[in-house]
Subunit: 318 residues, 2 copies
């Protein structure tokens, strides 16, 4: 029986795969750019090639018959297909798990990437030994994963945990999801750049081309008033949503993950201030606000954990 599972993280930009052991040790990794094509089978084929590479490197006999795949999708848990994939439109409505399983001859465990990251952080990262944790991924968008009594909250459709689509401004900025004023429109990398541009235009200053959240972070650190205000607003809305979640969920811990969490020094005071002003005191005192520990590996480790939990039925045929 194999002791390693395959685990993949299918992002909008990169496609990464690893062979992962029972304690989360990564035996082998491969990475390539995510292929963008109208044909969803191009992604399936790419994952197949990467699986073959890893199999060649570690030896087929060491692998179990399961692969976990983290992807930025809302899945329809009832039939294993992708319900919504804003950054990977090719797989919208596609029976991704089913087709991948056919291609690889493996059981495929597909999981929303933010939920996978929460599972990873709960297994081996910031939230290990924590019963109730909320993981908020601050990246291009805002993702969410919720662990209750040690188990991920998925809901009957598998769509639960979409913290980025909690409304914070009823008449706010239109969101890609079809609503208005979602957290994602205020506390994501995309949002902080838009807010900085709006503030620049309000002040009749010129807006430099090629602005990114990273450059804005550097500007905020260097004392730029617009960059500082844009990140304060990011922290403000994040704090409002976390206060609401503290009142509704009463978590032991809130883990901030994703690229933006690395620069939390420019917004976390505002976030903590809003929580302190708005949430009920008892659960607010409990909820420890921390940064994720696993970085880019959180999702891969999360789906590795799920794949390790599925019963193995034999060896991967080579």
């Amino acid at each position: 029986m194999g002791e390693l599972v395959l685990a993949a993280d299918l992002g909008g930009t990169n496609l990464r795969m690893a062979a992962v052991g029972p304690s989360g040790e990564i035996a082998e990794r491969v990475r390539r750019s995510t292929p963008h094509s109208d044909d969803p089978m191009v992604i399936v084929d790419a994952i197949g090639e990467m699986a073959t590479e890893i199999q060649a490197a570690v030896g087929a006999k060491r692998l179990t018959l399961a692969i976990g795949v983290a992807a930025p999708v809302i899945m329809d848990a009832r039939n294993g297909s992708v319900y919504k994939a804003p950054n990977l439109p090719a797989i919208n409505g596609f029976n991704f798990a089913g087709e991948l399983s056919k291609k690889l001859g493996l059981r495929v465990i597909l999981e929303n990437d933010a939920t996978a990251a929460a599972i990873g952080e709960h297994w081996l990262g910031a939230a290990r030994n924590v019963e109730n944790a909320i993981c908020v991924t601050l990246g291009t968008g805002v993702g969410g994963g919720i662990i209750l009594s040690g188990q991920p909250l998925r809901g009957p459709d598998g769509t639960a945990g979409e913290i980025g689509h909690i409304c914070v401004e009823p008449n706010g900025h239109p969101c890609g999801c079809g609503s208005w004023g979602c957290l994602e429109q205020y506390s994501s990398a995309m949002a902080v750049v838009r807010i900085a541009r709006e503030l620049t235009e309000e002040k009749d200053r010129s807006w430099p081309g090629g602005m990114t959240a990273e450059k804005l972070y550097e500007a905020a650190k260097a004392g730029d008033d617009i960059a500082i205000e844009a990140f304060r607003r990011l922290g403000y809305y994040l704090g409002i949503v976390l206060a609401s979640l503290i009142n509704v969920v009463d978590p032991d811990m809130i883990v901030l993950a994703g690229g933006l969490s690395g620069g939390w020094d420019v917004f976390i005071d505002e976030t903590c201030g809003q929580i302190a002003k708005r949430a009920f005191r008892l659960p607010a005192l409990r909820a420890k606000l921390v940064r994720a520990e696993l970085g880019d590996d959180a999702g891969i480790l999360g789906v590795a954990r799920l794949a390790l939990e599925t019963p193995d039925q034999g060896l991967l045929e080579s």
Copy 2:
């Protein structure tokens, strides 16, 4: 061994108690006005007298050694005391369960009233046979109870489920909880009267004294434009929060309870409209929006259920 449990609903206005059988049948009821005093023991004594009345009516031998109490409080589950009781300030910080247990010689199961109502509706009401339900109580304030995989969500402090304190307007009306713009300030009986008064003042019309949510409901039904708009706003904000909760929790059902739910015809279209516009389609299609079925008995039946689940250790001493 007794087959009936005592169950009490301690409201801001009325204190009700019943003896409840294993299928939820109510064998005996008593009711009195909730005593208001600075001394929390006055409430404990009143509950003691009512327990004695019920005991006399049904016979001590038929009662188990447990009493469930639903109360409009946030409890500190770590020590059984009342953490916050906005409508019953006398018991703020009081070890209610402990003192009541000493007085009655019974095990006391104290539960937040909205969570108790959710448990009741899940046991015998609108949400029976439903795995994942959100119960929103629209009364003087807005309460919430969440059932996940058949179990109430309480959180480690016992404070979870406070749906009324999700923020819907970041700079909105100040809330009794210390925050601003909570749902309770837009979608409660208290709120709809305030909003109607604000609208009346904006239009320079005169505001009649003694206005209540019931009178406003009648006015809305009779075509009064201000009453109609006040209820539309109630429904609007409720819809925004329910859409957020659908995205985060993916419930099978949303149950609207409390006095205002009886008049949902004047706001439910707006609520459903906001959900349809804002929530992810897949979980929104799943989440059935219904009215509660147990009326005032939901809380009593909820805590009766909890008391019935606690192991009995003998007969009530008479």
